[in-house]
């Protein structure tokens, strides 16, 4: 019978199906970061357990770390303690850790793929919801809580129920100036932030096949914002070309043999899904969120909603509350919204291709005088080095951006990078929740190109008619 990639990975990783219990599923790769792991290691110590497979586990520090120059210890004592706790735990339990000074440091979901630690057919977990990113390679990848982190550390398995499958088919070709970020925001706008609950989404169609790995990662990254357990894309030549020569590939087989193994994970022609959603990407324009949930989104030619047009009372209340928090009147055209700050980075859009897109827009331009701060935070130190080798850093700095070290930074504002109350920000990250980028901060999610354009004009504008220099 024709199988989906999800079914293939599930079947291949079943350790046991005890009666009246969840299935025990083997985990091939476990990523760890400093925020969601300390209590898990503590739990191991309290019950005198070891890490079963330290060699399948990799840690990086990303959420708390400063993105300014990394000389001397972290000033905030709590952040410092958390980062030091991770280093200590990794040393005690024999886990590889890419600490702040390591060349391989960066956001966990940027680092794993670029090192070749994320491979097709794997099961991957991390105590972080955006673990869905790794699904771009055809790996079944999702976020887990800290108790589950402890479970994976102790047993290298996870208890799981099978998910339903949803095919999201992206038909047609993406317009110039429109990016993977716009597509995934449009998908969330269509199915809603709980539209994917209970499902694993597989993305298919011509538009997916035409996308780079960076673009596919952006799509899978935000799949969690649609409520789904995981996002998946069947591996193909684009996947293999990205992986070739990555430093952590398995060494026991020639690359051609690996490729053939990986290819076999792809969904079989004619396989069946529980639900199918079709999106015509030709019609998608650059997207901008206007509210406090990623589903509160519209195209650049759109406007904030009119409240009386919404029939569902709970929704109307949610819209009203969101507009109030965002300081926007109903029916405001998106192009009339001016921003104070711009943030380009995060595990959604902090990869080299994202930086290239933004630099392409910024080249020969300067940020508007009304912009209080424009931050460029690469997703990893490797991305930073690559961008510097290409001279992108000069373009950002010349335009008026701050060029930072890698980290999560103003995506969640756990370090010193944050919005002040009332600040309005064009951000390439993934969550526009109240206070996400700092208490009282107002976040509009956009693509790197749209963020760069907003930095120059001081307000949202349609990057499809940009004056490229």
């Amino acid at each position: 019978m024709a199988k989906t990639i999800y079914q293939k990975i599930w079947d291949a990783h079943l350790v046991a199906e005890p009666e009246e219990q969840d299935a025990i599923v083997y985990i091939d790769r476990h990523y760890v970061h400093e925020v969601t792991s300390p209590q898990a290691f503590e739990g191991l110590r309290l019950s005198d357990r070891k890490v079963r497979r330290p060699e399948l586990t990799y840690a990086t520090m990303d959420h708390n770390i400063p993105t300014t120059k990394r000389t001397g210890p972290i000033a905030d004592p709590l952040s410092r303690a958390q980062v030091e706790t991770l280093a200590g735990n990794c040393a005690d339990f024999g886990i590889a850790c890419f600490d702040m000074d390591d060349q391989r440091n960066g956001i966990v979901h940027v680092v794993g793929p670029e090192l070749g630690l994320t491979l097709p057919g794997m099961t991957i977990v991390c105590g972080d919801s955006h673990t869905s990113t790794h699904g771009a390679f055809g790996a079944l990848a999702h976020g887990i809580g800290t108790s589950e982190v402890e479970h994976v550390l102790a047993t290298q398995t996870l208890l799981q129920k099978p998910s339903k499958t949803m095919e999201v088919r992206l038909n047609g070709a993406i317009q110039p100036g429109v990016t993977a970020k716009d597509i995934v925001l449009a998908i969330i706008g269509r199915i809603g932030t709980s539209g994917g609950t209970g499902y694993v989404i597989e993305y298919t169609g011509d538009a997916i096949r035409a996308m780079s790995m960076e673009a596919r990662m952006t799509i899978c990254n935000m799949t969690i914002e649609a409520g789904a357990r995981a996002g998946l894309i069947s591996p193909d030549e684009t996947t293999f070309a990205y992986l070739e020569n990555r430093p952590y590939l398995p060494q026991d087989k020639p690359f051609d043999a690996l490729k053939e193994e990986w290819r076999a994970w792809a969904s079989d022609p004619g396989c069946a899904y529980d639900t199918v959603v079709e999106i015509d990407v030709d019609a998608v324009e650059p997207q901008v969120t206007w509210g406090t949930s990623p589903e509160m989104v519209t195209g650049i030619s759109g406007q904030t909603p009119m409240l009386d047009a919404e029939a569902d009372e709970n929704k109307r209340l949610a819209y009203e509350k969101a507009l109030q928090y965002m300081g926007l009147a109903p029916g405001t055209p998106i192009t009339e919204i001016a921003v104070d700050k711009v943030f380009i980075g995060s595990c959604t859009n902090g990869r080299i291709e994202d930086l290239r897109e933004a630099a392409h827009v910024l080249k020969g331009h300067a940020i508007a005088p009304t912009i209080k701060q424009a931050l460029l935070v690469p997703g990893s130190q490797q991305v930073k080095r690559q961008a510097e080798a290409e001279g992108l850093d000069r373009i950002f700095i010349d335009a008026g951006f701050e060029w930072r070290e890698a980290g999560c930074s103003m995506c969640l504002a756990m370090n010193d990078d944050r919005l002040e109350p009332g600040d309005r920000c064009a951000a390439t990250s993934n969550r526009n929740f109240e206070g996400r980028q700092g208490k009282g901060g107002r976040t509009h999610l956009v693509s790197p190109a749209m963020a760069a354009a907003a930095a120059v004009t001081g307000r949202f504008c349609d990057v499809r008619s940009w004056d490229y220099k």
């Binding site: 350790v15 046991a16 005890p18 009246e20 219990q21 969840d22 025990i24 083997y26 925020v35 969601t36 209590q39 503590e42 357990r49 079963r52 497979r53 399948l56 959420h63 905030d76 952040s79 303690a81 706790t85 105590g127 972080d128 919801s129 999702h142 976020g143 887990i144 809580g145 800290t146 108790s147 589950e148 479970h151 102790a154 047993t155 290298q156 208890l159 129920k161 932030t193 709980s194 609950t197 409520g227 789904a228 357990r229 406090t292 949930s293 709970n314 929704k315 209340l317 949610a318 509350k321 969640l412 504002a413 756990m414 109350p421 969550r431 929740f433 109240e434 206070g435 996400r436 208490k439």
Partner: protein, 198 residues
């Protein structure tokens, strides 16, 4: 882990869709390395005024009548956002034992079961009716019976609910997941041997 069998408690309403984990517990409190002590900062940005200590009089949960509430009534997609288990830690540390909502985000839902917290999914109209009843009657309390999968209302009316049988058993017995899995350690070892994981 704490077991959940039956619980009677005052119900507090939280009238918002998509309550995300950043609202349940903001990031600045994720820097601690302990599992306990998060109850005081639950719903921090909503619950306190800008000084961070004065209770916000406009936040419904701060009203005297909900002071000892232990059942939370919420709306769609509760717990969306990050995987932080600090969210259920904060809810249970505050004193909540059960949350009723039309839908929950996936990771949050799972995390609850590792912390003796019972999330119950109910139809939207049932939840909306409960909001009305809770607000109409001070001290409105419900009894949640997990074994029977029933919620008993003050007037004796009964609401039934669905729950996955395994999750139910885990909560009823307060089972430790790791201990449960390690009963099958021979199978894990066999899997590793078959896959060349030495």
């Amino acid at each position: 882990m704490k077991a959940f069998t039956e619980h009677t408690g005052v119900v507090a309403p939280l009238e918002a869709m998509h309550v995300d984990t950043d609202q349940i517990i903001p990031k600045q409190f994720l820097k601690r390395i302990e599992r306990t002590g998060y109850g005081d900062v639950l719903f921090y940005d909503w619950r306190y005024l800008d000084d961070g200590t004065t209770p916000n009089p406009d936040f419904e949960l701060n009203r005297g009548r909900y002071k000892n509430a232990s059942i939370l009534l919420a709306q769609d997609n509760f717990g969306c956002g990050s995987s932080r288990e600090h969210a259920p830690w904060a809810l249970s540390d505050y004193g909540f034992r059960s949350i009723l909502a039309p839908s929950f985000a996936d990771i949050f839902y799972n995390n609850c079961f590792n912390n003796g917290l019972l999330p119950i999914t109910l139809p939207g109209d049932v939840v909306n009716a409960l909001f009305t009843e809770v607000r109409a009657q001070e001290g409105y309390a419900l009894t949640v019976k997990l074994a029977e999968q029933e919620i008993v209302k003050p007037d004796g009316g009964v609401i039934t609910f669905d729950i996955h049988p395994f999750l139910k058993q885990r909560l009823l017995h307060g089972w430790d997941q790791i201990g449960l899995t390690l009963q099958h350690e021979d199978k894990i070892t066999a899997y590793e041997q078959a896959h060349g994981i030495a």
